[in-house]
Amino acid sequence: MTSKIAAIGGLTLAACCWTSAASAHGIVGDRFFPATLITDDPAVADELSLPTVDSFKTADAPPDTQTDISAEWSKRLTSNFGVSFDGAWTDLKTPGGDISGFQNFGTTFKYLAYTNAPHEVMVSVGMEVEWGATGDSRVGADSSTTLTPTLYFGKGAGDLPDSMGWAKPLALTGVIGYAAPLEHDATRSLETGFALEYSLRYLSSHVRDIGLPSFVNELTPLVEVQLDTPLGVRRTASTGTINPGVLWSGHHIQLGVEAMAPINSASGHTVGAIFQIHWFLDDMFPRSIGKPIW
């Protein structure tokens, strides 16, 4: 009897959720936009990136070896609105010795503004806040608080004609942000980035199952590009990286690894690397911390 009541209760709960159709992850229609390592994806979700580890040589002469260990926790307040908290610890190996400390802490507010399932479109708007003077200036943390209004977008290619079925697993996500430090004489900049992805899961589930092993079907090869373009009278060269890599999306976690190739000498001289473990809290704890508060 107890089990029957529990079953009825469970089905009632399921029915309620069936009608809401609100899904975390970056899912719109047939498309799942995985969490990318360097550029933020457009989804509002309950997730945790812990840790993200990157290492590269800076553009200084002689170069320093910089290693960052960062974390970001994203929490949905409603199904469409969320907040993220991030922080990073940096270690610099310089010719004069090691320096380490925290970067400024950050908070991001993001609102999922538009979705179009048939065309696999997702658009969000947000405000990223870097809290000035909360980090260590010796590792580059600014004293000024910076506000970055940001547009996030994602577009899947699933609406291409069937004659271009091979291209349907492609997707593009991106961000465009205007970084405005609150100190009036600080340099403002345009922060842009995009990720071009090819989902093998999409290929096997929606286009053609060519018999690849399940592990391979859970891979998403991608290339991320990240650019920081200073604006105003003291303009300097854009800096950024091109980051080819691969994501593996499992049931509860996603693993990602990418190379970090500088786009010019102002961005660095050698290829670095970045690695991330990403936790899907909405899948791990769907009835507690993995669901929206309201």
Binding site: L13, C17, G29, H206, V207, D209
Partner: protein, 120 residues
Amino acid sequence: MRFHPLALCAALALVPGASAQAHAFLDHADPRVGAVVKLAPATLHLTFTQAVEVPFCRVSVTGPPGFGGAGGVHATPGHPETLTVDLHGPSPPGAYVVHWRVLSVDTHVTEGDFSYQVRP
């Protein structure tokens, strides 16, 4: 005491998940996604990456003129992640499109579609 970043990553990667529940994506189907088959199937089997709540799963199939349509969605004994869909005959040669919408056991809704062809 110093620690190495890779050691931290390895330790976290070994942390087990809370349960075996997550979003249900289509893992494979019979007939296969995008397949060309000579014999029209009498049933479809859709296997997802997670167990699904069968009463709240919907599968529709469209086909060429003369197609008898899809029947109900059934559980597959011993395989809570697999749906069985009966097709009403006849199933003439042509292209068929399967649209699915499922509820995983942890209440996440996912949907998608795929096609196959019957070509004797």
